[in-house]
Amino acid sequence: MKWLIIFLSFISGLFIGWKLNLVFPHIGGSYIAVLSITLLDSIVGGVKCGVVNKFSSYLFYSGFIFNVIVAYGLAWIGDNIGIDLFLSITVIFAWRIFNNISALRRMYLKNKGFPFFKKEEGL
């Protein structure tokens, strides 16, 4: 049920964005991309914390907001000094997403009692 809610809200978000039919020309498109990847990182991180019952909405929101601020600041500086920092931001967030997703997968498999994880402790 909870997965369905998250999934449906994502799909309805896609639908709303499609219906809004906005185009951000120029470099604005890259900032939207950075925002998207920051959001995805926060979502995956939130899901992971929720699954292990360590979720705190204060941490969640503040983490997201600070990530966006830092990412935008870096991207803006990179824009102005001529380095493609968008790419590095994307790499870092993608890395975090992969980490969190693999942690989720390990948790799932461990809960199912797969034999590979019998000797391991923690995640």
């Binding site: 809200s9 994502f10 709303i16 809004l20 498109g29 925002l35 998207s36 019952n53």
Partner: protein, 259 residues
């Protein structure tokens, strides 16, 4: 009571479904706004470097093939248009007169094929079997540049040429020569050496004007090599129609009073 419970559940700091769903919604909106498709791709990429944009577009689809296809289409449609105009003109006398003047204008503007006597000039880069290194001599003189084509076209117009084409690109309103690395773009179409310049006019006058001492062709022959230039008088030469765009975005015919 019930709503209170909902409120508590929604804003309970340890409840993770609501915040995560909220951000999922926002992220969905962002992703679909940032999604690039063929309609908004050019707008989104406007501020990128030209080089980067070219790379991205090459990854997307082959633009030049598309362009050539469109040119073929334009040519076909224009021929059909001429046919239709002729067909309409056969019906009535007035329309016939109108059509005659229209065809005359089209001929003048370069939208029809033309044939007549003239000259055929061949310009090509100098290729030497003995010397293949750029270290000796001035290689600059041994290459045909876009400015050469421009000068030759000017020379021909000045000598009374009535129609000019270079490598089957008609020189008409808005024609341009643009140096594009190893190729020259004529009317936006990439061409390269050898350049076949056809011109309709009085063959003797054109021939004499083109080979005038001190003018560009003469310079190419003296500074470069005589093999680079070939000028022939021709009794009958066919010049293709202009195939570029004719859409005017900003210009329009003024109202009567301002005339």
């Amino acid at each position: 009571m019930n709503s209170n419970k909902l409120y508590d559940e929604l804003f309970d700091s340890s409840n993770w479904i609501f915040p995560v769903s909220l951000l999922s919604l926002v992220s969905g909106i962002c992703i679909s706004i940032g999604w690039m498709n063929t309609d908004n791709r050019s707008k989104v990429l406007e501020k990128l470097d030209a080089e980067q944009r070219v790379r991205i577009n090459f990854g997307n689809f082959d633009l030049s093939a598309e362009y050539n296809k469109q040119l073929e289409e334009v040519k076909k449609l224009r021929e059909e248009n001429t046919k239709f105009q002729n067909a309409v003109a056969e019906k009535t006398g007035h329309a016939k007169l109108l059509n005659e003047s229209l065809q005359e204008l089209k001929m003048y503007a370069g939208f029809t094929q033309l044939e007549g006597p003239g000259v055929l000039i061949t310009l090509k880069d100098f290729v030497s079997k003995e010397r293949q290194s750029a270290l000796f001599g001035n290689i600059n003189y041994e290459i045909i540049h876009s400015s050469d084509l421009l000068d030759v076209a000017n020379l021909l117009w000045n000598a009374g040429a009535e129609a000019i084409s270079i490598n089957s690109q008609r020189i008409a309103q808005g024609s341009h020569f643009w140096c594009f690395g190893s190729t020259i773009r004529i009317n936006g179409v990439q061409t390269s050496s050898p350049f076949y310049i056809k011109a309709i006019g009085d063959p003797d006058t054109l021939f004499g004007a083109v080979l005038l001492p001190g003018e560009r062709i003469n310079q190419i022959m003296t500074l470069g090599n005589e093999d680079m230039v070939k000028v022939e008088k021709v009794d009958k030469i066919i010049i293709p129609a202009y195939s570029g765009t004719t859409i005017l975005k900003h210009a329009k015919i003024p109202d009567g009073e301002s005339l």
